[in-house]
């Protein structure tokens, strides 16, 4: 098992390298540069700026320099937020995004699993219909509709929670809810489908025939198989949630890292874009690995040797 993990981590290096290379040259393909303003800068100032950030070198040299710095954990200075390095920006923003995304993920997992399992156990009852109906709602309504509506209702009209901003736990309630709702819906639907299937399977019937109590049959035998699709869905989703959401962070004014990619790409903040790509790629790789390990643990038929 340890060998497998090590092998997977080793194979992540070339993947990461490819991603870095492709995105490095792609963002450079885009016309314009980080120092373009409405009114063109004085050419001398422009030259100095470019020299200061190493943009006057040939592209391949810049690329090698970037790779070299990356190996030392240096993501370079931000081009548009001049007082910060990219690593600094992530040091401030990433914890915020991880807290919000992580809580949303945990809530989605717990609530979604419980609702989905309940709906499956009481198939075609009112609980089932309520869960399926609510799930359809949650999947259909996009985040950028839910987020302002929640903010409007609870923040502006009722005044129970702050409509936006960041600071106390109260500020986190609405963003976490916004992020969790669609995930709850999807997890509940996946769990419901998989549990219904698992309840009909042979090993669950065998467990029943042994006379095991219902909670053991459901909890230890049916659900164990039923969470497999949820786990494989949650791998990429967890990476996406933990690295922040542009929409939620924009609407609620949260200082996370979700906005960095779009803002960086629009402002040609090369290092910020690259940094975001690297961070997101690391998250995706790590979570895919976690999913595979969980798979082997949950499903004894899966072996990695």
């Amino acid at each position: 098992m340890i060998l497998y993990v090590l092998r997977r981590l080793a194979s992540a290096v070339p993947t990461l390298f490819l991603i870095v290379t492709i995105s490095f040259f792609m963002i450079r393909l885009a016309p314009g540069g980080p120092f373009d303003l409405e009114r063109p800068l004085d050419p001398v100032i422009m030259q100095n700026l470019q020299r200061a950030f190493g943009l006057d070198l040939p592209l391949w040299q810049q690329y090698l320099l970037y790779l070299g710095n990356l190996l030392q954990g240096d993501l370079g200075p931000s081009f548009t937020r001049r007082d910060f390095t990219v690593v600094d920006l992530f040091r401030y923003g990433l914890p915020v995004s991880i807290v919000i995304g992580g809580l949303a993920l945990s809530i989605a997992l717990v609530v979604g699993l419980v609702l989905g399992a309940l709906a499956a156990l009481r198939q075609n009852s009112w609980i089932d219909y309520a869960v399926v109906g609510t799930a359809t709602f949650g999947i259909t309504i996009p985040t950028f509709v839910i987020a302002p509506l929640l903010s409007l209702f609870f923040g502006v009209m009722m005044g129970w929670l702050p409509a936006g901003g960041w600071g106390t736990w109260k500020h986190a309630v609405l963003p976490i809810t916004t992020l969790a709702l669609p995930q709850i819906a999807i997890v509940a639907r996946l769990t419901r489908g998989a549990t219904i299937e698992a309840l009909r399977s042979n090993h669950v019937r065998t467990a029943r025939a042994y006379g095991l109590p219902a909670y053991v049959v459901v909890g230890a035998h049916a659900l164990r198989g039923a969470v497999l699709p949820v786990v494989s869905y949650l791998g990429p989703t967890a990476a996406a949630l933990l690295t922040g959401s542009v929409v939620v962070e924009t609407i609620f004014g949260i200082p996370g890292i979700g906005r960095y990619f779009v803002q960086g790409a629009l402002g040609r903040d090369y290092t910020l874009v690259m940094g975001t790509v690297v961070v997101i790629a690391c998250f995706v790789i790590v979570f895919n690995l976690i999913v595979d390990i969980l798979y082997a643990w949950l499903d004894p038929r899966v072996r990695y040797d």
Partner: protein
Amino acid sequence: MADTTTAIEPAAALAPVAGRSLWQDAWRRLRRNRAAIASAVVLLLMAFAGIAGPWFTPHPYDRIYPQYVRAPASLDAYPQEDTIIPQFVSALERARITIGEVEVDSSTVRAPVSDDKPLDPRIVRYVDRSDLFNNARLEDADGNPLAEGATSGVMVADVQRVRFYFGTDANGRDLLARILIGIRISLAIGVLASVMALVVGVAYGSIAGYVGGRLDNVMMRVVDILYSLPFIFFVILLVVFFGRNFVLIFIAIGCTEWLDMARIVRGQTLSLRRQEFVQAAEALGVGNRGILTRHIIPNTLGPVVVFVTLLVPKAILLESLLSFLGLGVQEPLTSLGLLISEGSDNMRSAPWLLIYPAVTLTAILFALNFLGDGLRDALDPKDR
């Protein structure tokens, strides 16, 4: 009755029983699904509203009414009675003349005006310029046009009644007209992007699946590589290269959505090309092109149709997301996503700007999803 006729006429008995095609079967199943039919009706109404609606609204979607910025949604006509006099006075004050008591009746507003110099007839423009009044004129006490050189008279103007059923936005544009245009743009982008994904995906997938071998391998690896590129990255690149416009957006969405389509069609094609009717066609000497277009592609259409109906809401969502990030269609043109984004900026002072577009978009998405689910049940009964 039918039995007796068939018994008498042997020819009729030999005639093949009118078979029900896959599509007829699907149609029967779909008709029984009330949610899907209701959704289809909603969608047709929305499409009609988007196509024809903008011609029937009293206001063009890009007409700005500076006096009616963020006017709340209301069934009553604007201007409200208590705003008429202050607006009239403030318009007249710009003419720097002495104003008397202002009177308002049902459709006109009048005020005695005087000055030390003869009244210039051009001062009516100060009043006409306002969105509230039109046909301003100077009259004497008896209601006749004011004689030239008079130093006092009555300024009369008709009150212009306008209605904003959904209110106006932060620039003073009618929200109803903008929502109708938004429906038009969002639906158009959804449909066009899906058609593009359909054409590219079906062509690519069927060729890869039919030819097979090394070409299939290469083509599907290309799909895998494109798959791993982040969508937003791609769109931002396209937008900065070619500028923001309507055509580009649906091309960008179509370009990212055909990958799934290609995979589905390839899978279908792989299983179809081994079947007897394809071999029969080959034996009869039908060319590759003929087999693909006459035999393979029509048989892949079931899953493809289902996928397309689910693709349309996805494309609408992507467009809305792009608009939300400021990469979508450009003002004064608008889409539902852009309206929602503007609405969330103004929700404290003007919640209707958020609520109406949000409800509209949600209704469209719901209808499309239910219709897609209904079609899947209808076309793919074993998948229930």
